[in-house]
Amino acid sequence: MSWTNEQMADEVITFFKPYSSVNLGIGMPTVIAERMPADLNVMIHSENGVLGVSGRPKKDSVSPTLINAGKETVQIGPAASFFDSAMSFGMIRGGHIDYCVLGGMEVDVERGLANWMVPGKKITGMGGAMDLVNGSKQVIIMMNHFSKDGTAKLLKKCVLPLTGKEVVDIVVTEMGVFKPTGSSFKALKLAPGVSLGDLKMDSSLLSN
């Protein structure tokens, strides 16, 4: 039985220390904000210029100028602050943010991440991802284990253009939690009932 997105989010949250700070990427990682236990006191950073994002606004308190990096309406919690983009990226690039959680298209054993373009087909741009992977103290990738054609997205070497080289610390997929070591992925945990054979990865890419 593979994990749901919510269960994957809970796995990511186990890495967060109390009173730490985290930047959540667009897409799958946004569910983490909704699963975050309030008593963990984690400050959520959004690179468009807010620290202390806390859930969604009530219908009657929506503000068009209070959004996250996914351009979705949010609200703020106690101790929140607003700032410009240079300070926001100073928080990231200066090494002041503890964790970033990003989506991924490919991750490789050498800790490389690709998540910003498919040459000739799709370009979303890197947004803040290249800054986040180089500046955050710990980089966690939360993504589907398999691409649309059914092959594993955890590779020996990324094929797509890199977002960052030697940057990924942890990968959480619906199949398990993995740590790229430089030569393989160490399976830290597998979802209930999932075996190494279910991962569709060459056995040389896996270690215990």
Binding site: I26, S46, E47, N48, G49, V50, G55, R56, P57, K58, K59, V62, S63, P64, T65, L66, I67, A69, G70, K71, E72, T73, V74, F82, F83, D84, S85, A86, S88, F89, I92, R93, G112, G120, K121, K122, I123, T124, G125, M126, G127, G128, A129, M130, D131, N134, G135, P161, L162, T163, G164, K165, E166
Partner: protein, 234 residues
């Protein structure tokens, strides 16, 4: 003071009267949040072309700067993210316009550098990626690439509140790139929802000193579009 201040203009068209083809334009906003709506609408009516535009998203979902993008007024764009902007992604893939994708932190820092008088800086962001191609690499604690300052002829930005000297106060996350762009451009044009007399914004609450603002006007008819409205329990 309001009528005497040489910085106060009647509207967007008056403030943009001397923009010319081939110029470089910075435009504030994150997606559609905090964009200079009046200035962008005025640009759709001004006969300019071959603009170089520096803006994080170049509009989104057919709105914002997309209005002048589809008029073919943009020759080159600097931005960090084109997801959610199919008009731009299409022109980028077909190479109809030149697009330089810049990591968002490098983008804001290049703009900040221009305003601060810094010519260039080294950063690890982008090392080992396509972004690093052709750039000087230097080893510090880790390998870094050289990035240069980004200047502009004009910046168009929006603030919630501004006084007649150009002191500005931004609302929530609408601040984003705007103060940096104001410092990096030769002429900064600001549109505000509330134009007030000097002294009405307490000095310690000023987010951007008016020194960086050359022109300011009272904007009108703000849409303040929300791209993704998500409320509690939805």
């Amino acid at each position: 003071m309001k009528s005497n201040s040489p910085k106060v203009f009647k509207d967007a068209a008056a403030a943009l009267h001397d923009i010319k083809s081939g110029m470089t334009l910075m435009s504030g906003g994150f997606g559609l949040c905090g964009i200079a709506e009046n200035c962008i609408d005025a640009l759709t009516l001004i006969d300019v072309k071959d603009l170089t535009v520096i803006s994080n998203n170049i509009g989104n979902s057919g709105r914002g700067l997309v209005k002048i993008l589809i008029q073919d007024k943009i020759k080159k764009a600097y931005c960090s993210y084109v997801g959610g902007n199919p008009d731009l992604e299409k022109r980028l893939l077909s190479k109809e316009i030149e697009v330089e994708l810049v990591p968002q932190g490098t983008f804001s820092e290049r703009i900040r550098a221009a305003g601060m008088g810094v010519r260039a800086f080294y950063t690890p962001t982008g090392y080992g990626t396509l972004i690093a191609e052709g750039k000087d690499v230097k080893m510090f604690d880790r390998p870094c690439i050289l990035e240069t300052a980004l200047h502009a002829d004009f910046a168009i930005i929006k603030a919630q509140k501004g006084d007649t000297y150009g002191n500005l106060w931004f609302k929530e996350t609408a601040r984003n790139f705007s103060p940096l762009m104001a410092m990096a451009a030769k002429i900064t044009i600001v549109e505000v929802e509330e134009l007030v007399e000097v002294g009405e914004i307490p000095a310690e609450d000023i987010h951007l000193p008016g020194l960086f603002v050359q022109r300011i006007f009272q904007g009108k008819n703000y849409k303040n579009d929300i791209e993704f409205l998500i409320t509690e329990g939805v």
